[in-house]
C-alpha cells in the first residue's frame, strides 16, 4: 500500500510497486528501483560540472546561497562547501544529498591516505575512482542499506604519469572518465554547452589537442551556470569551483572567490552581448520584410 501511494507521486512509465522497497530486489524488467530513486535525488539537486582542459581539470557546483536558507548561517563556512580536496592532487565536487556526499568525501580521504601509507605514492585519480565506485556500489546490494543519493566528480592528477583526469561516480556505482560531465538539475543543457566548448576548435573529443585552458574553463563554466539561472529566474544561487592544473601547481585547490566573481561578471556580460546580437539579427530579419 505504501509503495503504490509512493509511485502515484511520480509520472513514471512503469510502476515499482513491490519491487522498490530495497536495493536487494530486481524488478521483473531488470531494474533496481532504489538505485534509480537515488539518482532522482541527484537530478533534483544543484548542478555540478566538470571539464578536462589542456592544462588541468576544473569542477564547479552551484548551490543555494546560505542566506537564502537562513540568515543565521555563516557564509563561506567549510561546513557548506561542495568542493573538497581529498589528497594533495585529487579533489571531489558533489551534488545530491549533502549529508550522503559528506560521507563519500570522508571515505575518499581515507582511501587516499591508506594508499599513500601502503604504496608510498599519491593515489592516482583512476584508482581513487575505482575505490569510490566500489564503495558506492556496495550500498546498492544490501537489504539493510540504502544507496548514496549523491554523485561525486573526481578531479585529479597522477604525479607519476603526469596526466590529469576527470571521473564521475553515480549512485549506481558506475564511474567513467569524462572530457566533460554534468550532474544535477541543469545537466541536460550543460552537457550541450560542454560539448560546444570542448569541440570549439577541434574535430573530435578524442583528438589530442584539447584547446580549452583551465583559466578559460573557469569562465565558461560560470557562463553555463549563469545561463541556467537566467532560464530559471533563480537568483539565490552561488558558485563553488575547484581545480587541479598547472596554475595551481598541480595541487587540487578551491578556486579563489575573486576569480570566481570575475568569471561571473564576465559570464553575465557575455550572455547579454550574445542576447543583443540575437536581437540585432532579429531586427535585421524584420527590416528585410
Amino acid at each position: 500500500q505504501q509503495s503504490i501511494k509512493h509511485n502515484k507521486q511520480y509520472k513514471m512509465a512503469s510502476s515499482g510497486s513491490g519491487y522498490d522497497l530495497n536495493p536487494s530486489t530486481f524488478s521483473p524488467d531488470g531494474r533496481i528501483f532504489q538505485v534509480e530513486y537515488a539518482s532522482k535525488a541527484v537530478d533534483n539537486a544543484g548542478t555540478a560540472l566538470g571539464i578536462q582542459c589542456s592544462d588541468g581539470i576544473v569542477v564547479c557546483v552551484e548551490k543555494p546561497k546560505p542566506t537564502a536558507i537562513s540568515k543565521m548561517l555563516v557564509q563561506h563556512s567549510m561546513t557548506s562547501k561542495r568542493v573538497h580536496p581529498v589528497s594533495q592532487h585529487c579533489g571531489l565536487a558533489f551534488t545530491g544529498l549533502a549529508s550522503d556526499a559528506r560521507q563519500l568525501v570522508n571515505r575518499a580521504k581515507e582511501e587516499a591516505a591508506n594508499y599513500k601509507d601502503t604504496y608510498g605514492s599519491e593515489i592516482p585519480p583512476k584508482i581513487l575512482a575505482d575505490r569510490m565506485s566500489a564503495y558506492v556500489h556496495y550500498f546498492t546490494l544490501h537489504g539493510s542499506l540504502r544507496p548514496f543519493g549523491a554523485t561525486t566528480l573526481i578531479a585529479g592528477y597522477d604525479v607519476d604519469l603526469k596526466e590529469h583526469a576527470l571521473y564521475m561516480v553515480e549512485p549506481s556505482g558506475v564511474a567513467y572518465q569524462y572530457h566533460g560531465c554534468a550532474a544535477g538539475k541543469g545537466r541536460q543543457s550543460c552537457k550541450t554547452e560542454l560539448e560546444k566548448v570542448l569541440l570549439s576548435s577541434q574535430t573530435s573529443l578524442e583528438s589530442t589537442t584539447v584547446s580549452v585552458t583551465s583559466q578559460e574553463a573557469v569562465k565558461q563554466l560560470a557562463r553555463m551556470i549563469q545561463l541556467l539561472q537566467e532560464d530559471s529566474n533563480n537568483k539565490d544561487v552561488e558558485l563553488e569551483m575547484g581545480w587541479v592544473c598547472a596554475e595551481s601547481g598541480w595541487n587540487f585547490a578551491r578556486v579563489g572567490t575573486t576569480i570566481v566573481d570575475e568569471a561571473l561578471v564576465w559570464a553575465k556580460a557575455d550572455i547579454e552581448a550574445a542576447e543583443e546580437e540575437d536581437d540585432d539579427e532579429d531586427d535585421e530579419n524584420d527590416m528585410e520584410e
Binding site: 601509507d117 601502503t118 604504496y119 608510498g120 605514492s121 592516482p124 583512476k126 584508482i127 575505482d130 607519476d160 604519469l161
Partner: protein, 238 residues
C-alpha cells in the same frame, strides 16, 4: 592490506638496543638455534639506464655451509628485483608477500609498478613486524618514471633511496672501498657491474659468512641479464 602481527613495544626496542654492537647487527646471535641464515654480502648500484644487483652465494647454519651456490636474488616483478640478507626464511616470506601485493597493484594501476612502490611495501612489512623478523633487504630495478633506482630496507624497516646500497654481514668490510670507488664519479653499465663484482669479492674474502660465487642481475628497460661469476673468476680473493 599488509600483514600486521604486532606493533613495536618498548620492551622489544630495548632488546634490539642490547643486541646491536657498535651499530652493526650481530647476525649469529639473533638467528634462532638451527635457523638457516644468509650471512651475506649484497650490493646494488643504479646507472644511467638501469640497475646492477649482486650477491654472494653462501648460506650458513653456524659454521656449516648449508648451500654454497644459493640464489639470494629474488624477482618481485618484471623489472624489479630484491636482494636478501639475514634469516633466509624471513626473507623468503617477505619476498612472497611483496610479490603478491605488487602483482595485484600492477593490475589495479594498469601499468608496471614503480621500484619505489615495491620498496615501500617491503618497508611496511619489515617495520610493522620488526620484532619478529631478521631481514635486511635491498630493492632495485627499473621503472618508466624514476628509471633505475635502488632502495635499502635494513633491519628496522627504514626505506632509504640511495645512489649505492650495500648490505649483509660482509658489507661493513667494503664501505671504504665502495665509498672511494663511487667518489670517482657516476658509473655506466660496465663500470657498475665491475664495481659490484670487485666489492663483493673483497667482502667475501674477509667475511666468513660470505662466499661461493657472485650472482648478478643487470636490469634495464629492455630486460634482465642474469649471470653468475664463478669462484675462480672472482676479481679478488680468496
Amino acid at each position: 592490506s599488509t600483514h600486521n602481527i604486532h606493533t613495536n613495544t618498548p620492551k622489544t626496542m630495548m632488546q634490539h638496543q642490547h643486541q646491536h654492537h657498535a651499530g652493526h647487527p650481530n647476525y649469529e646471535s639473533q638467528l634462532k638455534p638451527g635457523e638457516v641464515g644468509t650471512g651475506t654480502t649484497i650490493m646494488a648500484i643504479p646507472f644511467d639506464g638501469g640497475v646492477v644487483l649482486g650477491a654472494d652465494s653462501r648460506v650458513s647454519t653456524g659454521v656449516y655451509v648449508a648451500n654454497r651456490v644459493c640464489d639470494k636474488i629474488a624477482q618481485l616483478h618484471d623489472n624489479i628485483w630484491c636482494l636478501r640478507s639475514g634469516s633466509a626464511s624471513d626473507c623468503q616470506a617477505l619476498t612472497d608477500y611483496v610479490k603478491h601485493y605488487l602483482s595485484q597493484h600492477a593490475i589495479d594501476v594498469g601499468r608496471p609498478p614503480m621500484v619505489k612502490t615495491a620498496a615501500y611495501l617491503m618497508k611496511r612489512l619489515v617495520y610493522e613486524n620488526k620484532d619478529k623478523l631478521l631481514a635486511g633487504v635491498i630493492v632495485g630495478g627499473w621503472d618508466p618514471v624514476e628509471k633505475g633506482s635502488v632502495y635499502n630496507v635494513p633491519l628496522g624497516g627504514a626505506c632509504l633511496k640511495m645512489p649505492v646500497a650495500i648490505g649483509g654481514s660482509g658489507s661493513p668490510f667494503i664501505y671504504g672501498l665502495v665509498d672511494s670507488e663511487m667518489a670517482k664519479g657516476p658509473k655506466d653499465k660496465a663500470e657498475a657491474l665491475a664495481l659490484v663484482k670487485k666489492a663483493v669479492s673483497h667482502a667475501m674474502s674477509r667475511d666468513g659468512s660470505s662466499g661461493g660465487i657472485i650472482r648478478t642481475v643487470v636490469v634495464t628497460s629492455t630486460g634482465n641479464e642474469y649471470e653468475y661469476t664463478s669462484g675462480s673468476d672472482l676479481p679478488y680473493g680468496p
